[in-house]
C-alpha cells in the first residue's frame, strides 16, 4: 500500500508539475509524459521519500536523459523542430525579459549550467538539493549557478544594477 493519498498527490501536481515540466524540457521533447511517469513512480513507492520534491526532480532528470537518448536514436526531426520552437515560459506583460529571448538564452547554455539555474530559480531547490540531484557538491552547483547567471546577463543584455539606478533617477 502506498503512502500517497489522492489529496497529497493532487497537491504535488498543482505545486510542482509546471516547474517539473520546465526542468524536463531541457532534455525531453515530451516533458509532460516524463513528469507523469515520475508521479506514477512516486505512487508506486512503498515508503515516503525524505524529500518528495527532490525525489521527483531526480526521477524526472533520469527519465528525461533516457528519453533524449532514445529520441536521438529515433531522429524524429519534425517533432524536435516543433518542440524547440516553443518557449519555456508563458507570456506575461510585467517581465522585462521576453519569453522567447529567455528560452533561447537558456537553450544556448551548456547542460550542466542550465540545469542548475533552472532548478534554482524556477524549481526553488537549494544548492544542496541541486548538488544531490546532479550528483555534484553544493559548492559546484553554486559555482555553476553564478556562471550561468553571468552568461544569461550578457546574452539577454541585462543592464548592471548601478546603470539601472542611474537611468531610473
Amino acid at each position: 500500500m502506498s503512502f500517497l493519498t489522492p489529496e497529497i498527490l493532487g497537491q504535488f501536481i498543482d505545486a510542482h508539475a509546471a516547474a517539473l515540466e520546465l526542468f524536463a524540457a531541457q532534455w525531453s521533447r515530451a516533458p509532460a509524459d516524463v513528469v507523469q511517469e515520475a508521479f506514477v513512480e512516486l505512487a508506486r513507492q512503498p515508503r515516503r521519500p525524505d524529500n518528495i520534491a527532490a525525489w521527483l526532480y531526480r526521477v524526472v532528470r533520469h527519465r528525461a536523459y533516457d528519453e533524449r537518448r532514445a529520441e536521438s536514436r529515433r531522429r524524429r526531426r519534425e517533432s524536435v523542430a516543433a518542440a524547440e520552437s516553443e518557449p519555456y515560459f508563458r507570456r506575461s506583460g510585467a517581465g522585462q525579459i521576453g519569453t522567447h529571448d529567455a528560452t533561447a538564452a537558456l537553450r544556448e547554455l551548456p547542460d550542466d549550467l542550465r540545469e542548475v539555474v533552472v532548478a534554482r530559480i524556477w524549481c526553488g531547490l537549494t544548492f544542496e538539493q541541486i548538488g544531490e540531484i546532479t550528483e555534484t557538491s553544493a559548492a559546484t552547483a553554486f559555482r555553476r549557478h553564478q556562471e550561468a547567471l553571468s552568461l544569461l546577463r550578457s546574452r539577454l543584455g541585462i543592464a548592471c544594477l548601478d546603470q539601472e539606478k542611474t537611468s531610473k533617477a
Binding site: 500500500m1 516533458p31 509532460a32 505512487a43 518557449p87 530559480i121 541585462i158
Partner: protein, 174 residues
C-alpha cells in the same frame, strides 16, 4: 554558500519574473495511473539477508569442486615401494622408490644391446643343459621296469665331457 552578489540577485529576480508555461500533463489521467500503480504490489526491495542463499550456493559449489580435485589427485597417486637390502646393510633405512621409476629403469635397461646378448647367451646355455638332461634320460639307457612302465634308478651326475661323448656315439649310430 548563498553569497550571491547584489548584481546576481538582481538577475535572479528578473529571471524569476518569468513563469514556467502551464503544465500540459493530463492531471486526471495522472491521478488514475498513480492510483492504479499504488494498488499494485510494491517493487521488490532487496532484503538485508539476501546474500545468505547465494553465499551458501557458492560455498557448496566450491566444496564440491575441491572434493573432486582431491579425489582425482588421490586416484593418480603412486603406490610407494619399499626396498631393503637385508644382507648388505641391515641397519639401513628402507628406501622408498616409486614403481613407475623402477619400471622405467627396467625398460631402459632392457633396451641395452649388451644385456640382450647376455640374455641370449643365457638362453642358449639353458637350452643346451635342457638338451643334455633329456639325452641323459633317453630310454636306451633306462633299465626296464618290473611292470613295464617308465622307471629309473639313481644315476650318477652327468658331466659335460661324458655328455659330449654320448652325443658322438649317437651320431655314429645314426
Amino acid at each position: 554558500m548563498n553569497n550571491l552578489s547584489d548584481e546576481e540577485r538582481h538577475i535572479e529576480r528578473l529571471l524569476a519574473e518569468l513563469a514556467p508555461r502551464d503544465s500540459r500533463m493530463n492531471r486526471d489521467r495522472t491521478m488514475f495511473l498513480a492510483g492504479h500503480a499504488s494498488g499494485q504490489s510494491p517493487p521488490t526491495v532487496p532484503r538485508a539477508n539476501g546474500w545468505v542463499w547465494p553465499a551458501v550456493t557458492v560455498c557448496s559449489t566450491a566444496a564440491g569442486l575441491l572434493a573432486g580435485v582431491l579425489i582425482a589427485n588421490w586416484s593418480q597417486r603412486e603406490a610407494p615401494v619399499v626396498q631393503r637390502d637385508v644382507d648388505d646393510a641391515p641397519n639401513q633405512q628402507p628406501v622408498i622408490t616409486s614403481v613407475k621409476s623402477e619400471t622405467e629403469a627396467a625398460i631402459a635397461a632392457a633396451d641395452s644391446p649388451v644385456l640382450f646378448e647376455l640374455r641370449l647367451a643365457m638362453a642358449n646355455r639353458a637350452a643346451d643343459e635342457f638338451a643334455l638332461a633329456r639325452s641323459d634320460w633317453s630310454p636306451r639307457d633306462r633299465p626296464p621296469a618290473a611292470n613295464g612302465g617308465p622307471a629309473g634308478g639313481p644315476r650318477a651326475p652327468l658331466t659335460y665331457g661324458a655328455a659330449l661323448g654320448r652325443l658322438r656315439e649317437d651320431e655314429t649310430h645314426l
